[in-house]
């Protein structure tokens, strides 16, 4: 697969059309979660053509943003009530990405100004994120917003300034995308931005799918679509396993 991508990229470089300034591809566009799944590493390849920048003579920067499926996520804050600490306040983010990673060829601050990233909505500080409040959707309280990023980053689900985009040369670049074992399933988007002199000159997006497969998929679907029968099955499995254990234990 990697070789295929490389051949594709090289061919494209040789016969590249002026219309498409940027192409990217992933070493694997479909991640399958099976019993041995412990996270996954993918490689993203990309190349810029001469219409956007002259890859041989111009310096350019690459920022790659990978975004997972959006789900309702609740952040809770503990407070001391009497002698014990309990969850007191909570804030719900109806559409927080389940995975969010920013990889760049240099530290973000060197690529463009904070204001530029703000206008593109790139990075932990700029990702558009709304919270559910009494007055409808509104900008979240900063403490809860930063807690969301801190906690998700500690689980490797949100990543920034940790993955490097490497210039291979001749306009070709690559980066590793790291998905942890707890990655949510669903449709992902991989967006690539080419920066020159602090602003975007080219961008593209490609999809990435993460899904449970085979037995894992079947078990999950069974538990969620037929929960009553799943429960019955769990009981039957337990009764027979317990009986079997008793028989074996005697010997």
């Amino acid at each position: 697969m990697k070789q295929l991508v490389a051949i594709f990229v090289i061919t494209w470089l040789a016969f590249g059309s002026a219309a498409a300034a940027l192409v990217t591809d992933l070493s694997n566009k479909r991640i399958e979660i099976r019993y041995s799944f412990d996270g996954a590493d993918l490689i993203l390849f990309g190349a810029v053509g001469s219409s956007a920048v002259d890859p041989v003579n111009d310096d350019f920067d690459v920022v790659i943003v990978v975004r997972g499926p959006e789900t309702e996520t609740v952040v809770r804050q503990k407070k001391k009530v009497g002698p014990i600490w309990i969850n007191a306040d909570s804030l719900s983010f109806p559409a927080a990405p389940g995975y969010y990673a920013v990889a760049a060829s240099r530290p973000l601050a060197e690529i463009a100004s904070d204001a530029a990233f703000g206008s593109y909505g790139i990075g932990f500080d700029h990702l558009p994120l709304l919270a559910r409040t009494e007055r409808g959707l509104a900008a979240p309280e900063p403490a809860f917003r930063s807690a969301l990023f801190r906690l998700q980053a500690s689980k490797d689900l949100y990543r920034q300034e940790r993955d490097q985009v490497v210039h291979v040369g001749e306009g070709l670049f690559k980066t590793d995308i790291r998905l942890p074992a707890s990655v949510p399933v669903g449709e992902f988007l991989v967006e690539t931005f080419i920066f020159k002199n602090g602003s975007i000159v080219a961008r593209n997006r490609i999809p990435l799918a993460v899904d449970k497969e085979g037995f894992e998929r079947a078990a999950y679907d069974f538990a969620h679509n037929y929960p009553f029968w799943y429960g019955i099955t769990a009981v039957i499995v337990a009764l027979s396993a317990g009986w079997l254990a008793g028989v074996l234990g005697k010997k």
């Binding site: 099976r34 969850n87 449970k212 337990a238």
Partner: protein
């Protein structure tokens, strides 16, 4: 070796899971207890979401109780009529417990409820058990034998005053059905919210409150536990989809091996020494849970999904 658990949606080391099953199985084999009160906290401490830990442990307890119940059944050690009344109460209690569990989960308070339930019940049961066993050890040292109570005085006056009396031949009892119904219901609630079988509450209640003869107590309680934890498993499957069969089977696998070794170790110790050790272990889990509630957490924030929708 990592193993992805499709329902819990996390990856765990398969040897860690089997090892935890074995350690808890060892202790439960040694002390003759179910082990749910050790397993559920242990799963939570290793990062399994509390809802998954409780629901999955219900499933494992069903399995772990089968062989014991069968052995007691063959020895005529099960009072089926008493068991059915206890199960009827347990079914109601388990249903209520599962509803409360689901509701609190949506509020983000299920962890708190689990911790509080553990501190309260393990604290009181462990404390009483410890005092009782220490007293027994001291008595044995001094060579004093407690005078056995006459059978007629087993029940307090208010128990005889309850209506709906029923005859339980095997237990040689004529008492109100409300009493075992109430005990069963209480145990059912505990099963659903704590991920335990509830033997640690039911067995003392059967001996001291109902006055059942000891030869049918353990068999009848295991009989009730099988049915009530099975129901609890179904309720949790339907309400929150948090029962992970694979995790349960792996834990059982470890527990079966551990229990064999534990049972052999247990024979070397005296009954009241075993009870004192068990009480200490119960109190240890209780203190750990209580400590985590009282001490200021290093991270005040936590992130979770929206819970039950």
């Amino acid at each position: 070796m990592p193993l992805y658990l499709p329902i819990a949606e996390l990856s765990m080391n398969i040897f860690l899971v089997i090892g935890m099953g074995a350690v808890v199985g060892f202790l439960s084999g040694m002390f003759g207890v179910g082990g749910g009160f050790l397993m559920t906290p242990l799963l939570i401490f290793t990062g399994v979401p509390p809802a998954v830990a409780v629901a999955t442990e219900s499933n494992e307890i069903t399995a772990a109780s089968v062989s014991g119940a069968l052995a007691h059944w063959r020895r005529q050690g099960v009072d089926v009529k008493m068991g059915i009344v206890l199960i009827a109460g347990g079914a109601v209690g388990s249903f209520i417990g599962a509803q409360v569990f689901t509701y609190l989960r949506s509020l983000g308070q299920v962890d708190l409820m689990i911790s509080l339930a553990y501190v309260l019940f393990l604290g009181s049961v462990g404390g009483l058990m410890f005092l009782e066993s220490v007293r027994a050890i001291v008595r044995n040292r001094k060579g004093i034998l407690p005078a056995p109570k006459p059978r007629e005085d087993r029940h307090k006056a208010w128990i005889h005053a309850l209506p709906f009396k029923m005859r339980f031949r095997k237990s040689r009892l004529y008492i109100s059905a409300l009493l075992p119904l109430g005990i069963g219901m209480f145990v059912g609630v505990l099963a659903a919210i704590m991920g335990v079988g509830g033997g640690f509450v039911m067995v003392p209640a059967m001996i001291y409150l109902l006055g059942m003869p000891t030869n049918v107590v353990v068999g009848t309680s295991l009989f009730q536990i099988i049915f009530v934890t099975a129901l609890t498993t179904i309720f949790h499957s339907v309400n929150t989809q948090t029962v992970d069969i694979f995790l349960a089977v792996l834990l059982l696998f470890g527990a079966v091996i551990g229990a064999q070794i534990g049972a052999r170790m247990g024979l070397r110790l005296k009954a009241e020494q075993l009870r004192a050790l068990l009480a200490l272990m119960v109190l240890l889990v209780c203190f750990k849970m209580g400590f985590d509630l009282v001490v200021e957490p290093t991270e005040l924030f936590s992130v979770g999904d929206a819970g039950a929708h």
